[in-house]
């Protein structure tokens, strides 16, 4: 085996560490199965990107493999029912997340039948169009199973201007305790090889197809080589030979960027993706799942997870349905809470402690470590940095962890970015080697969070400024328009007034006929035309309102009658309301004035009526 390797040049990864591997515990037993849990909690967001949108309602019956939440946009992934049963709720439930927070999950009460939905098989899948294959992978909700959960269809749909010359299948699995990929490579080597050829077809036949496996997994390497030798499945003629490369065991050679560097010698520049340097790295488990999605139409419903730690009676790898509660899984393996110090999801270096054990298994759960105090001792109190520089020697991305540490403490965002904080892969090698036990990675993670927050706030502030300025501008514009209208009205009124005045002074004809209005003597017609129209319209309006002569007469008579009535009531003799208070002088005077007023009104009304009659008869 090593003779084969001699022909393949490997590059050295800078830094790196050799922690105790602790992989043998979980490899003693074959791949196991767990009984169907009574309830499955399937989170809507098990991947990087937007959470999927639920497409079922509570109370609905679902079959195994049925779509229960559809991807929301391209950067998202479908979610399927891991077993048949009833959707009992779509609710908030604890997620396997370092924050211990809750998120949306679909709860399925399993019916125990594990009844599959009809699947669309496809034997000659290499005859299909690449986009059709990508669509199948997308439909199956495949996301990276290595840890990050990047939607696989997005990763494989590379920009058309990029030529992918190397496809790296990542079977390095460098983190202590985790053996899920090791087990998968031993059990499902055929699927991995078939998946490799499938991805090779999708990526337009890269020149190199490499499966990188750390040399501490000889059985997996042997199984893969065997599978390559005996492979008889779909394969196109242009496909390159699959190289099974054993890479030296060193943490963190299993990082996508690191494995690409080891196998090709190419480093991914800051802020770029691996596709930019012509390489794509896919995890072995993802490769196998992509193959099953295309060949059998099977969505991603389960994954292999390592259950390990001294607090468990049985330490092994299990094929577990997504959504299985972790405490159920632990109970199935003889979990002893007294022995366990903490439960970690992931390995001992990059994993995080689970706050609540009822969180479910998701697409990225590669290991559950029920660690005793001996295995993962509580961190010793951090001491002052002695500037030994071991961290920089251990850093696999050649950063300066010590500098970053100072700047993170000072929250110096500019310097952190200048020192490429965002290239840190948070592998934890620096913290591992630190003699002062400084939790360096925690500082970097916190600093990254602060910077992201800062960036978001900055963007929002800029948007706010634009909105505010736009609003000010808009209000000013509205105000100006109003002012202009007001000025126009004022001008029109003044001109109309001037016109009337000029007409009054220059009145040559005695009558107010419209002909006189339309032929103003002082002002030229074209300029005055609109104003004249305004005046004419106003007069027409006033005439319209005027009632007919008969109505006007009736109105005047009514006024006259009312005046007579009020005079009569005013003339009526005063009657004291109370006999104790006789009518005073003052009251009499007031009565006199009232009578006078009423008489005046009466004469006025009589005069108006008489005028009206005279006018009408003369007309």
């Amino acid at each position: 085996m090593s003779s084969l390797n001699n022909f393949i040049k490997l590059w050295e990864l800078p830094g790196g560490i050799h922690p105790p591997e602790n992989k043998q515990q979980s490899m003693q037993l074959p791949l196991g199965q767990v009984p169907l849990p009574p309830q499955l909690f399937i989170p809507l967001n098990q991947h990087i990107g937007a959470p999927a949108k639920p497409s079922v309602k509570p109370g609905e019956q679902v079959l195994k493999g049925q779509l229960i939440a559809a991807a929301d946009g391209t950067f998202s992934a479908n979610v399927h029912a891991s077993s048949s049963g009833t959707v009992s709720a779509i609710t908030q439930h604890v997620l396997p997340h370092p924050s211990g927070m809750s998120g949306d999950v679909i709860v399925i009460d399993t019916d125990g039948k594990d009844e599959w939905i009809a699947l669309e098989q496809c034997e000659e899948y290499l005859a299909l169009d690449r986009l059709a294959l990508l669509e199948k992978i997308r439909t199956a909700g495949v996301a990276g199973l290595g840890g990050a959960g990047f939607p696989t269809a997005v990763k494989l749909n590379t920009k058309s201007n990029l030529v992918i010359d190397t496809l790296v299948i990542n079977g390095a699995e460098c983190e202590p305790y985790i053996t899920a990929d090791d087990m998968l490579m031993q059990v499902r080597a055929d699927e991995i090889i078939a998946g490799t050829f499938l991805l090779s077809y999708i990526l337009h036949h890269p020149k190199r197809l490499v499966i990188g496996v750390e040399d501490n997994k000889p059985k997996a390497i042997a199984a893969l080589r065997n599978a390559v030798k005996n492979y008889s499945g779909n394969k196109s003629a242009q496909d390159a030979e699959v190289e099974i490369v054993s890479v030296p065991t060193k943490y963190p050679s299993g990082g996508a960027k690191q494995l690409i560097q080891i196998l090709t010698g190419r480093e991914i520049p800051n802020g770029h993706h691996s596709a930019d340097i012509g390489a794509i790295c896919v995890n072995v488990a993802t490769t196998a799942v992509a193959y099953r999605a295309v060949r059998f139409g099977e969505p991603l419903l389960s994954r292999i997870t390592t259950l390990v730690g001294e607090a468990l009676d049985t330490q092994r790898n299990v094929d577990v349905l997504l959504g299985t509660p972790i405490n159920y899984l632990l109970a199935q393996h003889g979990y002893n809470p007294n022995k366990a110090l903490r439960i970690v999801m992931g390995g001992s270096l990059m994993g995080f402690t689970l706050t609540y054990l009822n969180a479910p298994v998701v697409k990225t759960t590669n290991c559950i470590l029920a660690a005793s105090k001996k295995e993962l001792p509580p961190p010793a109190p951090a001491q002052a940095c002695i500037r030994c520089g071991l961290c920089s020697e251990a850093c696999p991305v050649s950063l300066l962890p010590q500098q970053l540490f100072w700047y993170a403490q000072a929250e110096d965002i500019d310097r952190l970015q200048a020192h490429n904080l965002f290239d840190c892969i948070e592998c934890g090698a620096c913290s591992y080697v630190c003699p002062s036990k400084i939790p360096l990675v925690q500082y970097y993670r916190a600093a990254k969070g602060t910077i992201r927050q800062h960036t978001i706030e900055k963007e929002k502030a800029d948007r706010s400024r634009q909105r505010f300025e736009f609003r000010k501008e808009r209000i000013a514009k509205e105000e100006a328009e109003k002012e202009a209208k007001r000025a126009a009205r004022k001008k029109a009124a003044e001109e109309a007034k001037a016109l009337l005045a000029s007409r009054a002074s220059a009145q040559s004809t005695p009558d107010n006929s419209s002909a006189a209005i339309l032929t103003p003597t002082t002002i030229s017609a074209p300029i005055m035309q609109p104003q004249i129209d305004v005046v004419a319209a106003a007069m027409a309006k006033a005439n319209q309102v005027q009632a007919t002569p008969a109505e006007q007469r009736i109105k005047l008579e009514r006024v006259l009658q009312a005046a007579r009535n009020s005079l009569a009531s005013a003339q009526a003799p005063l009657v004291p309301k109370n006999i104790d208070f006789p009518i005073t002088e003052e009251q009499l005077v007031r009565q006199q004035s009232r009578i006078k007023q009423a008489e005046l009104k009466l004469t006025e009304a009589e005069k108006k009526l008489a005028d009206f009659d005279k006018e009408n008869t003369s007309a």
């Binding site: 998120g103 001491q383 940095c385 993170a408 925690q442 500082y443 916190a446 400024r465 609003r471 000010k472």
Partner: protein, 202 residues
Amino acid sequence: MFELITQHPIIAALVALVGLSLLFGAILGFAAVRFKVEGNPIVDQIDTILPQTQCGQCGYPGCRPYAQAIVDGDAINKCPPGGQSTINALADLLDVEAPALDAEHGTEAEVKKVAFIREAECIGCTKCIQACPMDAILGAAKQMHTVIADECTGCDLCVEPCPVDCIDMIPVTTSVNNWAWDMPAPLQLIATDRHDTSTEAA
């Protein structure tokens, strides 16, 4: 003329100096006109540091007027939404001491808030829409209004004008999507630097 200069070095020096100063003055004068900067760049720099909530708590109608006021000599500690970090950044920019936040203008909020209209109670009076400096409230007369949470800066200027008090300021919750790791506890120094109050008291 040449004779005069060679014979009287003092006069020659004076002539040279006056000539040079006239020349450079002309160049500077030309540059001042030719390369004139519109507006005050310092105002822009201060404006980018301010949080752009446009809340008016500083006593100016918006962040930019306050930035202008700072340039004109006003205190830099009148911005409660920005808090101490903004004051520090301003002090850094202007090279002055960073004072504490002036409590007269309000206190720094612990958590960010956004306005939320209880839509069932909204009568559609549009008063909050007119008050919002961000145009972050949607609605029309006699139609229910709602706040665009992403655009709301939490200035709470809409709360006061509401005649039916149907606007709440809701703290922005942290979810899995915007959660971030906490900074670890500060390092302990060497043993002799440790200030343990219990041992000191004993």
